[in-house]
């Protein structure tokens, strides 16, 4: 376990160092990541300039929701972004290199890339969540709970992306289509309270794809809209998603037959 953590840490430090070799490029990527979230912030602000609530949620509560989602997505991008390259590695045989090294294969794949846009995205995510937090009257005492729920959300998102990217072990292609579609659906759907949608959408976004456990339910707990007991559901979602991701990756690696020549 210590060895695995060390491998991961060294990989990430190497990426940060290499990114900082091109400071202009680095700051452009950070700025663009921040820009996209700033426009999200602007969208919510403009919308609430015309209305007072969405499905009973106030401006500040929706900002916490959007900020939480942005932050968890950005952190998954920062710490687990390499997983999006799994399909290409399966296709071009790059996976061979990781299999021969003495560290968990999926961890090596996930840590071989760092999404620098996520730094800007995370910064604006924190800004939105903090502004919403203060505006909604949430206290400092809830911050530790918020951080634990955020960590769970990052794990759920990363595990889900891993499972969906691992489909590329069987359906070959450079693009992780399923993960990409799921990410897009999540970004589209979950920036508003789930209660706004028809029942079928709510059920799919909670039970078929665990989007609700990675943003909506944690924010409901934080704002007092849901019982703290729902935290057990979030922990269960973490365990289930990690186990599923592990099983799918193990099956995928067993079926992997290299690219050959």
């Amino acid at each position: 376990m210590r060895h695995t953590a060390a491998v991961y840490r060294h990989e990430m430090i190497a990426h940060v160092r290499s990114a900082l070799e091109y400071p202009t490029e680095f700051w452009i990527m950070v700025a663009v990541g921040a820009l996209s979230q700033a426009l999200q912030f602007a969208f919510i602000t403009v919308l609430f300039g015309n209305i007072t609530a969405v499905a009973g949620w106030s401006y500040h509560e929706v900002l916490i929701l959007v900020g939480f989602l942005s932050l968890s997505t950005a952190l998954a991008g920062l710490f687990w972004d390499g997983i999006w390259g799994l399909g290409s590695m399966v296709l071009n045989g790059g996976m061979d290199y990781f299999i021969t090294r003495p560290a968990p294969v999926i961890l090596q794949v996930a840590s071989h890339h760092l999404d620098l846009h996520s730094i800007g995205g995370a910064t604006l995510g924190i800004a939105m969540a903090a502004y919403g937090w203060v505006g909604a009257g949430l206290g400092l005492a809830q911050i530790p709970v918020g951080l634990i729920l955020l960590a769970c959300a990052v794990v759920i998102q990363s595990a889900l992306q891993t499972t969906l990217c691992a489909i590329n072990f069987w359906i070959k292609g450079h693009m992780p289509v399923f993960a990409w579609v799921a990410q897009d659906l999540q970004n589209d759907t979950m920036r508003f309270p789930l209660t706004m949608y028809p029942t079928l959408v709510r059920q799919i976004a909670t039970w078929a794809l665990p989007f609700a456990f990675a943003s909506f339910i944690p924010v409901q707990i934080l704002t007092g809209r849901a019982s703290p007991w729902w935290a057990i559901g979030i922990l269960a979602a973490v365990v289930v998603n990690v186990v599923v991701a592990g099983l799918v990756c193990r099956a995928g690696l067993r079926s992997y037959d290299s690219a050959g020549s």
Binding site: E25, V46, G49, V181, D188, T189
Partner: protein, 265 residues
């Protein structure tokens, strides 16, 4: 006998066929565009209920969302990555030796690939029409002028993409540029939220950019939010952007191409 624009037409056809070969992309386009469309419908149905905002009631908003789906599917549907890759890996040097104008050739390829996204736009629109029955255009003339504004989107979309792709002569990654461009287009075109709901200073800023013509212009004409003279004015402004950006791209290309260094021989 040489036909006018024969090379450009050939490039457009090749690009179109290349895009059509990836049939799975249609499905992905319908799923992604369709999900945005459904989320938009759910949001505005919930918000508008029986009321209206900035002159949009639920009926008008249904048409607005379908039009924005069509225009954005077309605008995002063009193949833009190849040009960026050729600039980034230096293969653009080969293009410089070819006896065809670089910008016109890329325009032909891009518009050819945009045509390939028509089935996605058509499938999504028919589905949305059957599900949500949006209203017909304000008049037959409004319908015709909407079609004209959507046609102008083909060159306009190419120019916005092409100008952003030229930035690859100075940066090392296209993904960042694409990400920034798509975020700006989505917000300032009115896809994310209609411009009419924005504060006046933000609307003024948006109208200083070419992006409102991606969605706000066709939807405003379609819904009769502008009269015939206003519609013609919007189309004239859109056409002016098409010409202006074409010229701007020419100027930028002249500077950008100086960044290319060819080694060896």
């Amino acid at each position: 006998m040489t036909y006018p624009l024969a090379a450009e037409r050939a490039l457009a056809v090749i690009s179109l066929k290349g895009q059509m070969a990836h049939k799975f992309n249609w499905l992905i386009g319908v799923i992604l565009g369709g999900s945005s469309l459904l989320v938009g419908m759910a949001l505005w149905r919930h918000l508008l209920d029986d009321g209206s905002m900035a002159g949009y009631d639920w009926e008008a908003m249904r048409a607005y969302i379908v039009i924005s789906f069509v225009t954005i599917t077309l605008a995002y549907g063009g193949a833009h990555g190849q040009v960026a890759e050729r600039i980034l890996d230096g293969m653009v040097a080969i293009d410089l030796t070819r006896p065809v104008d670089f910008q016109r050739a890329r325009a032909a390829e891009y518009i050819g690939s945009m045509i390939a996204s028509l089935p996605t736009a058509a499938i999504g629109s028919v589905g949305a029409w059957l599900l949500f029955t949006p209203p017909a255009p304000a008049s037959a003339l409004a319908g015709a002028l909407t079609a004209v504004s959507i046609l102008l989107l083909f060159p306009l979309s190419f120019e916005v993409v092409y100008l952003s792709v030229l930035a690859c002569f100075w940066t090392h990654r296209y993904g960042t540029i694409m990400f920034a461009r798509e975020s700006l287009v989505a917000f300032f075109s009115g896809v994310t939220i209609p411009l009419a709901l924005m504060p006046s200073w933000l609307q003024a800023l948006a109208w200083c950019l070419p992006f409102p013509h991606f969605t706000t212009t066709p939807s405003s004409i379609y819904l009769g939010r502008v009269d015939t003279l206003g519609a013609l004015g919007l189309i004239a402004a859109e056409a002016a952007w098409v010409i202006g950006l074409w010229v701007a791209a020419r100027v930028l290309w002249r500077h950008a191409v100086k960044q290319v260094t060819i080694h060896g021989g």
